[in-house]
């Protein structure tokens, strides 16, 4: 055990309590950058954003800026977005196409493959000689794609992406593999700042179905398909789903494993949630047979609910929002939001989805506005001396964990539960207090075994 910051005393996943220091402490945050973000598989970009050789997209891994590029041979590589000469940020564009990256400071130029190729005044300035082969960009050593999503990992000893995902892949496939051809990003990336710790956002998408009816009450009230809201009973057009996914009364599932989490309600029909545009909801109904053939009925029917792949990649089925919570210190995140469509969807549906997505979950979205407000206000309270010491209750559904016999994998519970939150924080503790991946995996496994007795 290597718990120099005593984080094990701050999280008790067995009893369902966390101490707020984990959201505000600078030392804990610095250790997170090393032990969580420095060795987790992190989402970088979607392959559809880099169709051609020379295409690039800039993003972050933790707080490290990185450039993701499509190579001449069609492969993808990622590099620390930092000139090797004096540390300047190399590329300042969001995305684009280029033959090389040239530093604005002194003009060092790097090829697409990361090698240092141009040093201005090389003969005159480096009379002592400069071995350019030693000063290429720092490469992200582990990079892989999963059904269109590109992931990177700084840790050469990390398990494969498939092992890291475990059963989360089953849930992810339900989002990414509904139709032949996979998915693509529609339109640009929403980016905005929220003054809260990254774990509030990540944990909510991991585990918190419970907030939706209340936090988002106003949006549901004014967008519900009733004659009071619109005389034809269709505020969001033909095809709008009649009621929120949680109002069907058919039960549901929350999933937890290796820090990941997901939850959804069972529905009779393939209905996206009530706030999704009618044309988009209709598209999902029309394409259900193909999704069912590929995924089986449980996942094909699932067009609502939340997900987090530990630590910071989250998405909502049906709403089609995929987002990364980039950490910016213990008290701030930068949210990057992508709208994900089936590549095979007609252009008219993609356009409708882009509009539906922004209306619900863009920064001015009917639902998004209220989420960020909650996290910001919690973060403010945690400045207090007493508030810092006052534990949070994470006990919903404690002791009702099970492994299902119907093929829905992982440690599960009813939808309204905090099983995935407890799993998220346990995984976080295991990463924060373990030096090796073998220790991390052993500790997580032991916790899950205690939960479901096997």
């Amino acid at each position: 055990m290597d718990d120099k910051l005593n984080v094990r005393q701050l999280v008790d996943a067995h009893k369902g309590t966390v101490k707020p220091a984990i959201y505000i402490d600078q030392d804990i945050y610095d250790l997170e950058l090393e032990r969580v973000f420095g060795r987790s598989w992190l989402f970088l970009a979607h392959e559809s954003q880099l169709p051609k050789a020379g295409d690039f997209f800039t993003t972050y891994m933790g707080e490290d800026p990185v450039i993701v590029t499509r190579q001449k041979d069609g492969s993808i590589a990622a590099f620390l977005n930092q000139c090797r000469h004096r540390g300047m940020k190399l590329c300042h564009a969001d995305s684009g196409n280029t033959r090389a990256f040239t530093c604005p400071y002194h003009g060092w130029g790097f090829g697409l493959e990361g090698g240092l190729s141009v040093v201005p005044l090389e003969q005159e300035a480096y009379r002592n000689g400069l071995d350019k082969s030693k000063w290429g960009l720092v490469r992200v050593p582990r990079l892989t794609t999963y059904k269109g999503l590109i992931f990177g990992n700084w840790d050469e000893t990390a398990p494969s992406l498939e092992d890291y995902l475990g059963d989360m892949a089953w849930y992810m496939d339900g989002f990414l593999d509904r139709r032949e051809g996979g998915t693509e990003v529609v339109g640009g990336v929403h980016k905005w700042v929220i003054d809260c710790n990254w774990k509030f956002a990540a944990e909510q998408f991991c585990s918190d179905q419970y907030h939706a009816p209340y936090t988002h009450g106003s949006a549901i009230q004014v967008l519900a398909p009733t004659p009071e809201n619109k005389s034809d009973g269709k505020p969001l057009g033909d095809g709008q789903t009649q009621r929120p996914a949680w109002a069907n009364g058919l039960g549901g599932v929350q999933f937890s494993e290796k820090g990941h989490g997901s939850a959804f309600f069972f529905t009779e029909k393939p209905d996206a949630n009530v706030w999704v545009g009618g044309e988009v909801s209709e598209y999902f109904r029309e394409t259900y047979p193909e999704a069912e053939r590929r995924l089986g009925s449980v996942r094909a029917l699932r067009l609502a609910g939340h997900n987090t792949m530990f630590p910071t990649l989250s998405w909502l089925n049906g709403t089609q929002t995929l987002r990364v919570w980039h950490p910016k210190g213990p008290n701030q995140i930068e949210v990057w939001v992508f709208c994900i469509a089936d590549k095979a969807a007609p252009d008219s549906v993609k356009e409708a989805l882009k509009a539906s997505h922004a209306r619900a979950f863009g920064p001015a979205g009917f639902l998004e506005q209220d989420d960020s407000e909650n996290w910001v206000e919690v973060q403010k309270v945690l400045r207090g001396y007493k508030a810092k010491q006052t534990g949070f209750c994470v006990q919903m559904g404690l002791g009702f964990e099970e492994r299902r016999k119907d093929g829905i994998p992982g440690v599960t519970n009813y939808t309204f539960a905090e099983t995935a939150a407890r799993g998220f924080y346990q995984r976080w503790v295991d990463m924060m207090t373990s030096e090796t991946w073998a220790e991390i995996e052993a500790r997580t496994k032991e916790y899950q075994k205690e939960l479901v007795h096997g």
Partner: protein, 181 residues
């Protein structure tokens, strides 16, 4: 003249009568005041039934791409019609739109009003805006940008037919946009 679609500023001043300039400016100030006073239903009455109200994201492009006319893709922040604007007002009226509970205070500043074209009973104008929002106990947010409006004559006043907003931020530095810009 008569070009209501141009996005870039014309290189010469488009001349209009002081009366028209005055009339249009006073309309924009009235509209801003109604929003600042939370009289959103009255404000909706100043929008045409076919109003379009849009705001898209901004992106950072490298010079090589800009010269080729290539830019990173954008997406909508607002993409509204009369009905969705009305639903946003209805949301505020539920008393459960938590971001605006308790209600924020806003102050809108409209400057650099330039009428850029006229066609029939419509005028095209551009202006810059600044909006200050005070919320919760001590949150202060400012939004700066420009917009292009098309107004249509409506008796002795005007109605807004389209509003194309731009907001001068790449990464938005506020947690959300819960007001009209």
């Amino acid at each position: 003249m008569d070009d209501l679609s141009a996005k870039a500023a014309a290189s010469a001043v488009y001349k209009v009568s002081p009366e028209l300039q005055h009339e249009v400016e006073q309309f924009l100030y009235l509209e801003a005041a109604l929003q600042d006073e939370h009289r959103f239903r009255e404000w909706l009455g100043l929008l045409s039934e076919d109003v379009r109200y849009t705001l898209s994201t901004n992106t950072l492009a490298q010079v090589r791409d800009r010269r080729r006319g290539i830019a990173p893709p954008t997406t909508y922040i607002f993409n509204e019609n009369k009905y969705t604007l009305e639903r946003r007002v209805a949301r505020l009226e539920t008393g459960m739109a938590w971001v605006e509970e308790p209600q924020s205070r806003t102050r809108r500043f409209i400057t650099n009003v330039r009428i850029t074209g006229q066609a029939g009973d419509e005028v095209r104008l551009s202006c810059n805006y600044a909006v200050h929002r005070a919320a919760k106990a001590r949150d202060h947010h400012t939004f700066y940008g420009t917009r292009r409006d098309t107004l249509r004559r409506n008796g002795d006043s005007w109605i807004v037919v389209s509003r194309e907003l731009e907001l001068d931020e790449f990464v938005l530095v506020t947690a959300n946009i819960s007001i009209f810009l």
